[in-house]
Each structure stands twice: as structure tokens, then as C-alpha cells.
Amino acid sequence: MNASEHGFNPAFNMATIKQAVNEAIERVRMPTPMRLRDLIRQIRAARTAAEERSVVNKECAYIRSTFREEDSVWRCRNIAKLLYIHMLGYPAHFGQLECLKLIASSRFTDKRIGYLGAMLLLDERQDVHLLITNCLKNDLNSTTQFVVGLALCTLGAIASPEMARDLAGEVERLMKSPNAYIRKKAALCAFRIIKRVPELMEIFLPATRSLLSEKNHGVLITGVTLITEMCENSPDTLNHFKKIVPNLVRILKNLILAGYSPDHDVSGVSDPFLQVKILKLLRVLGRNDADASEAMNDILAQVATNTETSKNVGNTILYETVLSIMDIKSEGGLRVLAVNILGRFLLNNDKNIRYVALNTLLRTVHVDTSAVQRHRSTILECLKDPDISIRRRAMELSFALVNSQNIRTMMKELITFLEKADPEFKAHCSSSIVMAAERFAPNKRWHLDTLLKVLVGAGNYVRDDVISSTIQLISESTNQQSYMTLQLYKALSEDLMDKQPLIQVAVWAIGEYGDQLLQASIDDDSGITPPTEEQVIELYQKLLWSPQNTTVTKQYALMSLTKLSTRFTVTTNKIQQIVSSFCSSLHIELQQRGVEFSQFFGKYSHLRPSLLERMPPMEVVRQTGETHTNGDIENDSKTPEESPQHVNSDSNALLDLLVDFGGTAPAPPQPAPTTTSNKVDLLDLFNEMDNIDTPALQTLPPTDTNLGLIVENNNGSLPIVINQNSNFIGGDLLSNTKTGVNEKDVPTITAYDKDGLKMCFSLEKVPDSNTLTINMVATNLTLSAMTDFLFQAAVPKTFQLQMMSPSGTVMGPNGQITQVLRVTNPNRSTLKMRIRLSYTVDGNPVQIQTEVNNFPTEIWD
């Protein structure tokens, strides 16, 4: 309706009636907009998503039209409706300018909705929001406190650096306002402004100090929040505020001692919000400062002992107190008190309190291990908690508490936990147990027993590193071999469902030490007798025919069985029979082994004993520091993860083996110089990717490096590497086992698998960054060699791609080429990759282009 300003006389006359009729006609043409309430009802009445969409679209179209017509009477209602529509997830950006118009209106109702809309629809990414600065400036000078309040609230929520700079002066002035309602809001605005533009802090400093001499809790709490931010901002300011420690102590003391004040009471505790903020500021001020810490020792002790603990609010304060005590240079007695509070938390019925306690203990365990150790049994109890978050924390904390003194009892509990644990815990838990056992094992026998229990307890969830480290340990401990082989045999004869890693370790051990197995001395406590040769062979038959066992396991078993033919005396014929039956196996890997191993029993049987000799013990350079107890300062930096040292030594051992066994070291892959790809084709590659014009793409010519050898050989977890040139036993077993043995929990995707070329990406996120490392492994599954192999990749331009040089350009049958790619994803968007592969096989050039879309999205989280 267009307003034309005429006077109106309530007395009826012809003119007014006429006017009314005209208006009514106009109204029919342009009806009163639907009320917010009615719109909400209509939307809620919609039975399908489509129905809802149509109601919303209709209303949005209408609202747009009123905006176009500059209808100021109903603007407020229309924006309110738009805000509701926005909450449902529909676009509402067209309301941004209208919000500004509402803010500029003189009516409070308009302003209230206008500012609400501004907070919801604008943020600093919108250019429109700069226009709001002027309105804010006006309203910050308003005489109505609530208008100033609205402006401050909006500034606090959507302040951008530019706005902060423009309005800092106004906010500083309002911090000195006589009105507490405005003062507290201005203080928090200053807090937000400093957060956005730290160098603006200076201008607020003078006004800040006086906030603490307030009685009003609103002003006090906002003042404390502001000071905390300032102190964390600069060391100079921190020093400047050291002198307020006595003030803070006094305020806190008054809070505790003050009688009941209904206004600020929360279940018997006086203003817990303010108490927590003050405790936090004390922590900041007392950190690394003996004098300041001294000044607050008493009050912290008082809070820690006097706070009512039956409700969440009391525990909230205690929790903050504990954090402060642990962070400042507090007295020893106070620290014990703090850890005891956490100990009590662990016994609390409220699961939130238990969770917080475990979390805090985990943070403080390195500061004061012995105090935390006292609560070990309670922590172990938490392993049985019904809440999965608590179990996870308890598990992490338990591993942090393991040391050489308590390893036996702790491991007993943790292995029980492992057996019953949820699948998602098993991998992490088993690896941690292995790590802890490696560091603190009292003796070899115990260590081996523990590893065996892990293999049994975690089943298929055991990570590959556990298999290789167990095998290595057995090989190293010469006097435990017969015992261990017997134990493994016993474990094998029991239930084997979902325990591939156990089978692999067991058959490896039996293959190596089969002769010792038969003569194993009967252990007094175990009560098992060594099996006969026939029993062992029968077990192998079961393993080899069981459809549940993976091909890799069967490969282990077949290899092991062949070895047994030189360890056993009476069953050689039976073994030969089994091995040769695999000559016709449908699986090519097994068939190849069947055929090859059969040769040992025929023409070359004189070579068999020497070829299948026992492997020399695999020695590992142990990491130093085994004598440290957990929680020692030296160990702080060391997370109980895989140490790189171990990895190195492992691959060294493999290299040694190669030399020992094969006599000659296998030749490193022969890289051929590649011609650089032609530009036109590359552009095609780009153009085909959606919405990309200049994506990052790099190709590097392969370089000749000996590292390639290590990488390749490291792929196999089996230490039975034999000269690759003779391609008779080892080669494919190696290449077939999972890549990246020493990496944990690495997701692998198959990027390409066709015409005998298989390409896998194992993805590894670099912690705390947006970078993903992709280890590409291409495998040639054909019988011919692939030469001139070139791998190119392109990613959308929001990503950055870096490609390392490949390990080579030639892949023989079953050969591999590896290459490392690094993808940086600053926006955490979904990764798509277009790849091009080119190679020559049997003289024919092949070129393949495809897109890889199956990257797991959770990798970026």
C-alpha cells in the first residue's frame, strides 16, 4: 500500500467512504501478507517434502515481490517469515538488504527483527554487512538502552575485522557507560573485537581494569572474560594484570562465603559461571609464576575442599579448580588433592563426570604419574563401563599408565578388555599392547605369551605389524622356539574362526621349527603333549582346504608345509601329495606354488634340504629407554606408537636376508627415461574434469634410486624372501601381501584394475594438516613386461597436487611400480582425481584415462 499522508477524520463522510472503498479494492489486488503463525502452520501441515517446498516457494516469491515494491508496513513480518524459511534450509540471501532497512527504521519492533535477521543472514563473508556498520554506529549512540543493546549484540556476533576497527572507539566509550546493562555487553564486544583484531587491545586496556571493582555479576563475568582474552593475547598484558590476583581471590572468596543469593544461586552454589571464569583467569595468571601461584594456593584449596559435590554444578567448579591446580606452580599437597578429586570423579554415578575425569587424568598423567597410578584400579574398572566414550578414554589412560612394575597386572586386564572389546577398539588396542609389551616385557617368555594372547584375542583385527613383529620375536628368541611353536600349535587346534593373523604366525613357526615341535618337552603347567607328524599334517590339510582361510594364509601354509618336508621324517610322501594337489588349484597364486614346490620333490629333491633350511634369527635393534617408567619426562614426547627405528631395522633385516639367501642382491628396477608428455593431451585431461580450468598437474621423470628396493621389499610381511631373479618361491607372495605393512590402519582403494594392470592407492592423512599422502602401487598381473610406464594425475584446482618420482618405468610380470603423491585440500572438499596411465606391452602402446571417485570422504575429518 502506498502511503499518502492525509489527515483522517473519524467522522464518516462521503469522501472517506469513497476512499475506503478504493483502498479495499487495492487491498484485494494486494492482499495482507500471511501471518508468520499461519505460514508455520501451513508448512507444518505439509505432508511431503515436495508439498513443503511448494508452500515455501510460493511464499518466497510473494516476499520477494513485496521487497521489490518497497512495502515498509509489512517488511517486519515478511523478514520474520523469511527467517523461519531460512532455518528450514532454504536460501534467504535476498532478505539481507531488507534487514538493513528494518534496522534503519525508528521502530523498536523493526530493529529487533532487523538485527536478528542480520545476525542470521549476514556474516563477514557478505559484502552487504559493511553497510550495516553505519546503522550500528547510529544505534550505539541511541538513548534507548535496548537499542544500544541490540547493536552491541549484533556487533559481538558478526564483527569482521573492518567493522571491529570502525567501531572499537564506540565500544570503548560504552564500556565506561554508567548503565550496567550496556557495560557488560560492551565488555564482551571488546572481547570479540580483540579476538578478531588483536592489535586493537591497547585502546580497551584503561577501561578494563575498573570492570573488576563492580558488584554486578554480569559486568564482573564479562570483565573477567575480557581480561582472560587479553592475557592470552600478549605476555606484556599478562604481566600487567598479575597485580589483580588479590582482587580475583577476594571476589572468589566472597562468592564462596556469601550467603544464599537467589539471583545467582544454582542448586546451592553461588554463581558457578563467575566462579569458573575466575578460576580460569587465575590459571592463566599463575602459569609459570611462583609468586602468583603462591597467592592463589589458599583459595584453590578452599574451593577444592568446600564445594558441594552432589550436583553437576559443584563438580563443574571442582573440575575447573583441578585444571588450575595442575597448571600453576601449586604445592605438592594441593596436587595430590586435585588428583584425588579426579579419583572421586571416577567413582561418580554421572557418566559425564567420569568422562571428564578420565580426560583430565590423561592430560595430567605426564605431570604426576605416581599420583595417577594410585587410581589405577578405578581406571581399569572404567574399561568395563557401558559408555563407549568412557571405555575409549579408559583404554588410552590405561596404556599411559603401564610401566615395568605393573605390566603383568595391567596386561591381564587389558587383554581381558581386548577379548571383549568392540571391533573398533581391537586394532588400536592390540597394537598398543604389542608396543607396551615390547617396552616393558619382564622376559621373553612373557612377551611371547602376550603376543599369542593378542593374536587369539583380537583375531582378524590385528594389524599387520603385529604379525611381522611376532614372527621376528620368535625367530630371535632361540630358546623359546619349541615352547612357542607348541603353544601356537595348541592355539591352532582350537577355534580358528576369524583369526587369520594367528594362523599365519602359527604356520610360519611350525614350518620353521617343526622338528622341535615334535620333541618339545612337556611343560609341567601347560599339560599339552607334542603332536605326532600325522596330527600336524592333518591340521595343515584342514587349513588348506578350509574356504574360510584367505589365500595369503594358504600361501603361508603351503610354504610352511613344504619346509616341513625336510623337518619331518615319515610323512614326506603325504606332504608331496598335498603340495602337488595344488598344481591344479583354481587360484593362480596357489597353483604356481603347487607347481614350483612340486619340483622340490622330483628332479631337484637333492636341493630341498639346503633350500628350505631354517632361517637365521632376525635381530632387531631395540629402541633404547626400555628401563624408563611410563610418564618419565624423557618419554613424554614419545607417543606409544610405532617407532621409526623399528621400521628401519625391519627393512634392514629383510635386506640382510636377501643377501643371505639369494647370494646376489636383486637388481634395482631399471628405470628408462621417459619422454615428457605432450601438452595438448594434458589440456584434454583438464578440460574433461568438471568446473576446472587450470588444475594442478605434475609429472616427474622417474629417478634411479636404491630406495625403491627397500620400499618394494618392505611390502611383504613375510621374511622368506628369496632371490627374485629365479622367481621360484618368494616373489609374488611378497607382492600379494598387503602393502604398507608398517603403516597403521591405512585405507586402501583400488584406483584401477583392468587388463592385468592393478593400481591401488593407500591413503595416509598427515596429522593436523590438510595433506593426504597417497602411496600408489601399480602391479602388472599379465605375463608380459610393461615398459615406458607413465602415471599422470590431475585434481580440481582447489587442491594442490605434488607427485614424487616413481620407482621405475618397467614392470615385469608381477612387477610393481610405486609412486608417492601428496594432495593438499585446504577446503576439505571431496577429492576427485583424473588419472592417465600409459605403457607399452608386447610392443603395443596402451593409454588409459579414468577418474577416481572412490576416495573416502572421512579421510579429511
Binding site: M87, F108, T109, E124, R125, P272, F273, L274, N312, T316
Partner: protein, 177 residues
């Protein structure tokens, strides 16, 4: 500092969202969707905290509504539960035993109350009485304007807008609700 607060129903419908950090709309939607699914999938026996990206998520269910806050690593998660509870108490006092429908139909009021409790992601007032008084006073301002507008409409005050007979009874606060 609190980064954002979400209110959503057991059916996963968003009822209120307050962001104290600037994110593009698309990201806000993604975060909201992700958190709603994660939290709704959690069993009632589980604790109220989640570690999510580099934030701590604190949530609590009141009747059919979930209140969910994202706070930073150094913030006190137990205190955040108290903040949520304080907000629920305020809503309850304001609406008189609040229910989900009150918040749906008066979502702007729910925002106004939250804005008196928190500012820029930090607590600004710890007294319930002060907050409710501030809200009541502002509601009164609106009503005064409405009455003034209505009086103007029937000509008892000098009016600014052209009115017709049919809108005489219309009171200004209807413009909103």
C-alpha cells in the same frame, strides 16, 4: 568461546541455530546435518560429550528437543551443560513450561532470550531475573509501539500512515505474529 549452538528435534528438524563464528551457509548446513545425525544415533546411556574435529560438542536432551553446543578445547564442558540448563530454565520461565511448539512458533523470542544470556559466544549475564526483566522491558517497548500505532490508526494520535476502515482494529503487533 562457544562456536555455535543448535536446537533440533528428535526427528532431526532444526529449531534454532546461533553461530558465533563466520562460516559460509553451505558449511553451516553440512556441520548441522553431520552433528544431528551423529547425536541422534547416540544411545541415551552415553555421556553428553563428543570430540568432533577440533571442537568439543556438548549436548543434552530436554523432552523432544536436543540442545547442542560446540565449544573450544580449553572450555569447560560441564559448565556448558549448566549454560544449556540455564537457557532451558529461562525459556521455561518465559513461556511457562516451555514445549517444542512454543519455540517453533515463537522462534524469534527464543533467539532474543539467548542473546540476553550469551553474547559473542560468552556468558554475559548470570542472573535469571535480570535477563527476564530485560526481555520483558523490550517486549513492552514493542507493545507500546503497537498501542501507539493502533491509536494512530483510529485517529486519536497524529498518524503517519494512511489507514482504511478495515484495518482500524488491526493492531501493530499483528504485523509480526
Amino acid at each position: 568461546m562457544m562456536q555455535f549452538m543448535l536446537l533440533f528435534s528428535r526427528q532431526g528438524k532444526l529449531r534454532l541455530q546461533k553461530w558465533y563464528v563466520a562460516h559460509p551457509d553451505k558449511l553451516k548446513k553440512k556441520i548441522t546435518r553431520e552433528l544431528i545425525t551423529t547425536i541422534l544415533a547416540r544411545k541415551p546411556k552415553m555421556c553428553s560429550f563428543l570430540e568432533w574435529r577440533d571442537l568439543k560438542i556438548v549436548y543434552k536432551r530436554y523432552a523432544s528437543l536436543y540442545f547442542c553446543c560446540a565449544i573450544e578445547q580449553e572450555d569447560n564442558e560441564l559448565l556448558t551443560l549448566e549454560v544449556i540448563h540455564r537457557y532451558v530454565e529461562l525459556l521455561d520461565k518465559y513461556f511457562g513450561s516451555v514445549c517444542e511448539l512454543d519455540i517453533i512458533f515463537n522462534f524469534e523470542k527464543a533467539y532474543f532470550i539467548l542473546d540476553e544470556l550469551l553474547l559473542g559466544g560468552e556468558i554475559q549475564e548470570t542472573s535469571k531475573k535480570t535477563i527476564l526483566k530485560a526481555i520483558a522491558a523490550q517486549d513492552l517497548l514493542q507493545e507500546d509501539e503497537a498501542v501507539e500505532g493502533a491509536l494512530r490508526d483510529i485517529g486519536l494520535l497524529r498518524k503517519h500512515r494512511k489507514v482504511s476502515l478495515t484495518t482500524m482494529a488491526l493492531d501493530n503487533h499483528n504485523r509480526l505474529t
